[in-house]
């Protein structure tokens, strides 16, 4: 693919974490806690389900979710695109080297160490499908939920862990701050790359297989970026303390979420769906 001149340093455009597409659909309006729990359930069941039938069903569901949330499916596809090389490499490795694990079924090819059976074919296809399903699902989740809602959701779902002295609130705060600074650091990196490039540094000009060269290219960016991050962190600590933040002390919560009947219905649907995926005897 040819790069568009002038846009190679515009990193902020390409960052999709925390991108939120407000369409106001049912999925958008769901209680974030229940939404997170439901999606977690679905992802787990999809990761475990190992049948063609189950995975096709799951794929249909994850496509349907785009329709229900009124988010263009192209968003999901753009999430799958960068994963294609990984999916392919994984598929090839599984096909060649997983014969011991998936040794059941009819033997299709037996040549030297290569040993392909109907089971290993199934493994390959199912893993690829899983990849796509899970990317679709997590895209719908992040595209339909603001980062604040996600962190609030995580915080209240993990609340039971407080009994074992897990710092739930601190954990949620760390996630919030990390997400908050992603675009800031992207912008910072952009500036540094431009500054270095204007002094003759070259980025991304080496061929992609020269991994060492391309890694070395990044050093003049990574180290100053790290330095900046540290000084920003120091400032942030001062600002947080000035606003009465005391680590580990009691805080109140600004937002109260209320789960409605539709939320519980969605949760029940996801539970049923997960049980079907895991327990239903799909013929294939």
């Amino acid at each position: 693919m040819k790069k568009i001149a002038g846009f190679e340093f515009e990193l902020t455009r390409n960052i999709t974490i925390g991108q939120y597409v407000p369409t106001g659909s049912i999925i958008h309006r769901m209680d974030p806690r229940i939404k997170l729990a439901s999606f977690t359930l679905l992802v787990i069941s999809m990761a475990v389900c190992a049948t063609y039938g189950g995975n096709l069903l799951a794929l249909v569901l994850s496509c349907l979710l785009f329709y229900v949330s009124r988010i263009p499916i192209s968003y999901g596809l753009s999430g799958v695109k960068p994963a294609i090389p990984f999916i392919l490499i994984l598929a090839i490795l599984q096909l060649l080297f997983y014969s011991e694990v998936a040794s059941g079924g009819k033997v299709l090819l037996n040549y030297g160490f290569i040993h392909i059976t109907t089971d290993s074919i199934r493994l390959v296809v199912v893993s690829a499908l899983r990849f796509v399903e899970i990317i679709f699902l997590s895209s719908v989740l992040t595209l339909s939920t603001s980062t604040t809602q996600i962190t609030h959701g995580i915080e209240s779902l993990l609340r039971p862990l407080r009994t074992v002295k897990f710092p739930v609130h601190e954990f949620a705060l760390i996630i919030t701050i990390a997400l908050r600074f992603v675009p800031t650091f992207a912008l910072e990196m952009e500036k540094m790359m431009k500054a270095q490039a204007s002094r003759g540094a070259e980025f991304g000009t080496g061929a992609w297989w020269r991994i060492v060269q391309r890694t070395k290219d990044v050093f003049p960016i990574i180290i100053p970026l790290f330095n900046v991050a540290m000084s920003r962190a120091e400032d942030l600590v001062l600002a947080m303390e000035s606003r009465c933040y005391v680590p580990g002390s009691q805080r109140s919560v600004s937002k109260k979420y209320k789960a409605y009947r539709t939320d519980y219905a969605a949760l029940i649907f996801c539970i049923v769906f997960a049980i079907v995926l895991l327990a239903f005897p799909f013929p294939y």
């Binding site: 902020t12 925390g18 603001s146 980062t147 604040t148 705060l173 919030t176 701050i177 997400l179 908050r180 675009p183 800031t184 912008l187 920003r232 400032d235 942030l236 001062l238 600002a239 947080m240 303390e241 000035s242 606003r243 009465c244 933040y245 005391v246 002390s249 009691q250 805080r251 109140s252 919560v253 600004s254 937002k255 109260k256």
Partner: protein, 285 residues
């Protein structure tokens, strides 16, 4: 006037770097009353920023005391009350916003103060309206300009309902437009009775204050009304400090034209003076 809001008594402070002590502030004493607008000026390394950090207990004096509304900053048990009374806005617009949405960032301080959610919404509305950022409440902060981010930072402080706002070079990273935005908000808050302590490089900002404190090498060397301070142009020049442009112009005109009042420091004062004198000329002929 009633009891001072902030009392600084014989404050001295030093940093310890590699076991050598570097004195930063020496025997500083002053008081800030409720509703005052104090500007602290001094060139880089004079200790002005360190001094501002003493005012809400981020740093505590090595000797001497800082008393905020009766609480000593050395007593850590009342630190939350002190920081609620004395809010602080820092230099870098990006490094003081915690949350991913403007509204949530304003709520951060309130959450720390354990304000009940029912009251929180009201306070957030109040603070965002006060800085004119209400329409941006659901925006992520990285889509805002520097001046807007700084206004959000001020809103985050205002929501805690402080009595005093400390600006630690809060306008130095902003362009002229952003700086004017912030100054407008600050002036409005001061008119409504909030004490302002602003650490700055910008002399035009100092001209707006009710009082100017000049710091040099960790000592207060001048303390008074801006009109008085900026008359001592020679001494300020020795300290590598400017005087406001208006003041420079007033003095230049005075040098050529004795009748012109050389002590003016505001642009509109100069206009008035010119109008006054020109009217006199007209009547003269």
């Amino acid at each position: 006037m009633a009891q001072p809001l902030i009392q600084v008594k014989n404050l001295s402070f030093e940093y310890v770097v590699n076991q050598t002590k570097i004195g930063v502030l020496h025997d500083i004493s002053f008081e800030v009353s409720p509703g005052e607008y104090v500007v602290i000026i001094g060139h880089n390394g004079s200790g002005k920023s360190t001094l501002s950090k003493q005012l809400n207990g981020i740093l505590t004096p090595v000797s001497g005391d800082v008393i905020v509304n009766g609480w000593n900053t050395k007593e850590r048990s009342s630190i939350r009350e002190i920081r609620q009374k004395v809010g602080m806005v820092f230099q870098h617009p990006d490094n003081q916003i915690v949350a991913t949405i403007v509204e949530d960032d304003v709520a951060f301080g309130l959450e720390n103060l354990e304000i009940p959610p029912s009251e929180m919404q009201e306070r957030i509305d109040f603070a965002l309206t006060a800085v004119g950022m209400n329409e941006f409440r659901n925006r992520p902060p990285h889509y805002l300009s520097g001046g807007q981010k700084q206004r959000v930072a001020i809103a985050g402080i205002l929501a805690m309902k402080p009595d005093c706002l400390v600006l630690d070079e809060a306008t130095s990273m902003l362009d002229t437009h952003g700086r004017n935005e912030i100054l407008k908000v600050v002036r409005k808050l001061n008119d409504e009775g909030m004490a302002i302590i602003s650490v700055t490089h910008h002399m035009s900002e100092a001209a707006q204050a009710s009082r100017v404190i000049v710091i040099e090498k960790g000592r207060i060397i001048m303390d008074g009304a801006p009109h008085k301070i900026f008359q001592q142009a020679e001494q300020l020049k020795r300290l590598h400090l400017d005087v406001p442009v208006a003041s420079q112009i007033a003095r230049k005109i005075q040098a050529h034209y004795q009748d012109f009042n050389g002590t003016l420091i505001h642009n509109d004062e100069i206009i008035k003076e010119v109008v006054r004198l020109s009217q006199r000329e007209v009547t003269f002929f």
